[in-house]
C-alpha cells in the first residue's frame, strides 16, 4: 500500500497554507493527524497531488477557556484533549468521547480538527460538536467565517467548508450539564455501530435543557431536536425517554454494513440513546 506521489508543503502560518490551497484548489489537501487521510492515500482512494502539513502552524494548537467559552485549535490531538484537566472541568463530555475514539496511538496523532472537518460519518467528534452546539472557524484567503456544527455537514465527506478554506478553531460554551457519550463498536479501533452524545441540565427535578446527537447512524451526524424537546420538562422517566428515543430514531437513516443490517442498527440506536440519556440524567 503505497500512495501516489505528491508535493509536500509545511507552511509555518495559515497564510502559507492558504496560498497553496488557492493555487491548487481541488488538487490540494491539508494534513492534520493524517490517520484518516493517509490510509486513504495508501489505498489510492484519495488522490492528493499537493499535501499541506499543518503541524508547524502554532496558532492551530491548544485549548483556551475564557469565561464560559472554550476554544480549541484544530491541530489539538485527542490525546491532548483527554489529558487536559481544565478542559475536563469545563466540559467533561469531551474526555469521555475522545477516550472512545480509535486507539492510543491514533489518539496521539488524531486531531479534533481533522476529525470534524473530514466529514466521515464514522467520526465521533462531529456528533459531539452538534450536541455541544459548537461553531467551526473557517479561514479563507479573503474572509474568516463561522459555521455552526449543526449546519456544517451535508453528506458523507461533503461539508460546508470550501476547498480553499481551512478549519482553524472550534468554539463552544462550557457545559456543566449531565453528560454521556455512549458508543458501541465491535472492538477497539472500530467506528461506532451506534453512538450518541447527550447533555441534560436539571432544574427542580426536571429536565430544563437537553441536547441529543448521534454518530454513524446516517451519512452525516444527526442532532435530534425533537428528541431533546421530548425530554424537556419531564422527570426523564421511562415514558419520556421512550418518546425521545422514538423521535431520535425518526431522524436517522442508517445503512447496512459489516456491523449489521438496518433493523439491528435502528434497535441498537434506540438502546444506546436511552442509555446515554439515563447516564446523562444521572449526572445532571
Amino acid at each position: 500500500m503505497i500512495p501516489a506521489a505528491f508535493e509536500y508543503y509545511r507552511p509555518s502560518d495559515i497564510a502559507g497554507a492558504l496560498s497553496v490551497l488557492a493555487e491548487h484548489g481541488d488538487d490540494a489537501r491539508v494534513l492534520a493527524g493524517g490517520h484518516s487521510l493517509i490510509p486513504m492515500m495508501k489505498l489510492r482512494m484519495a488522490d492528493v497531488p499537493h499535501l499541506i502539513d499543518l503541524q508547524d502552524i502554532a496558532g492551530l494548537k491548544g485549548t483556551t477557556i475564557d469565561g464560559g467559552t472554550i476554544t480549541i485549535g484544530a491541530m489539538t490531538t485527542q490525546h491532548e484533549l483527554i489529558n487536559d484537566d481544565a478542559l475536563f472541568a469545563a466540559c467533561p463530555i469531551i474526555r469521555e468521547a475522545a477516550l472512545q475514539i480509535a486507539d492510543p496511538q491514533v489518539r496521539y496523532m488524531g486531531t479534533i480538527g481533522g476529525n470534524v472537518a473530514n466529514g466521515d460519518p464514522g467520526n465521533d467528534m462531529p456528533g459531539l460538536m452538534q450536541c455541544l452546539d459548537a461553531s467551526f472557524v473557517l479561514v479563507g484567503a479573503d474572509r474568516t467565517r463561522t459555521v455552526k456544527a449543526r449546519s456544517f455537514y451535508e453528506a458523507a465527506y461533503v461539508t460546508e467548508r470550501d476547498d480553499e478554506e481551512i478549519l482553524t478553531h472550534i468554539t463552544f460554551a462550557a457545559s456543566d450539564a449531565g453528560f454521556a457519550y455512549e458508543k458501541q463498536k465491535r472492538k477497539i479501533g472500530d467506528y461506532a455501530t451506534a453512538a450518541s452524545a447527550v447533555l441534560i441540565t436539571k432544574t427542580a427535578g426536571k429536565v430544563s435543557t437537553a441536547s441529543i446527537a448521534m454518530t454513524n447512524l446516517s451519512d452525516v451526524p444527526v442532532l435530534s431536536e425533537a428528541a431533546a424537546a421530548a425530554l424537556v420538562g419531564t422527570t426523564c422517566d421511562a415514558a419520556a425517554v421512550k418518546v425521545a428515543v422514538a423521535a431520535a430514531l425518526e431522524d436517522i437513516d442508517p445503512t447496512e454494513d459489516n456491523r449489521g443490517p438496518v433493523a439491528f442498527k435502528m434497535h441498537l440506536a434506540g438502546i444506546i440513546i436511552s442509555r446515554a440519556i439515563a447516564r446523562a440524567w444521572s449526572r445532571a
Binding site: 503505497i2 506521489a5 493524517g34 495508501k42 502539513d53 490525546h79 492510543p104 496511538q105 477497539i188 479501533g189
Partner: protein
C-alpha cells in the same frame, strides 16, 4: 516527485536521508536507517507493529510520512536497551513469556514504554486499554499484561530504592 533531505534524531543519533515525500516513515526507518525492529503488519493503522515513539507520543509509523517527522526525536525498540543492558520491559517480556513469534513485540514494548512513563502505576485494565492499539496474534495478551505489570513494579521498586 523530487526527493528532499529529511533529518531526524533516531535513538539519540542525528540521521539525514534523501526521501520522496510519499515515503512512509516505517520504510525510511527500516530501509534507510537500519532500524528493522518496527514491523509492517496491517498498513492501515490498526495493528501497531510499526509503533515508534516520536516526540513523546506513541505513533504508528506506517501512517506517517517521513517528511512529517522532519526534526523529530524518535525512539525505536533499538533505542530502548542494549544487548548488555536490556530495558526492564525487555527483561520482563522474556521472563513472563510475553512474546511468541516476536513480530508484534518491538511495537508492543515501545508502546508499553510510553504507557509506563505516563502512568507508572497502571492497573491491569489500564494496561489492556493502553495497549489496545497493538495487536498480538500469538499470546492472547495475558502474559504481555503480566510482563508490563511486573516491569512497572520493578521500575517503581528501583525508584524507591534510589530515594
Amino acid at each position: 516527485m523530487t526527493k528532499q533531505i529529511v533529518s531526524m534524531t533516531v535513538n539519540g543519533e542525528k540521521k539525514e536521508v534523501l526521501a520522496e515525500p510519499r515515503e512512509l516513515l516505517i520504510y525510511v526507518l527500516r530501509e534507510k536507517m537500519g532500524m528493522k525492529g518496527p514491523h509492517v503488519g496491517c498498513e492501515t493503522s490498526h495493528c501497531g507493529a510499526c509503533t515508534v515513539e516520536i516526540d513523546g507520543k506513541s505513533v504508528k509509523s506506517c501512517t506517517m510520512f517521513a517528511a512529517q517527522a522532519q526534526g523529530a526525536q524518535i525512539t525505536t525498540i533499538e533505542g530502548l536497551g542494549s544487548p548488555d543492558n536490556l530495558h526492564v520491559l525487555q527483561e520482563n517480556f522474556k521472563e513472563h513469556h510475553g512474546l511468541q513469534c516476536g513480530y508484534c513485540t518491538p511495537g508492543m514494548i515501545t508502546r508499553a514504554h510510553r504507557l509506563l512513563i505516563e502512568n507508572p502505576n497502571p492497573t491491569e485494565e489500564d494496561i489492556r486499554f493502553g495497549i489496545a492499539g497493538n495487536i498480538c496474534r500469538c499470546t492472547g495478551y495475558q502474559n504481555i499484561v503480566k510482563s508490563i505489570l511486573s516491569a512497572a513494579a520493578e521500575i517503581n521498586a528501583a525508584k524507591e530504592a534510589a530515594q
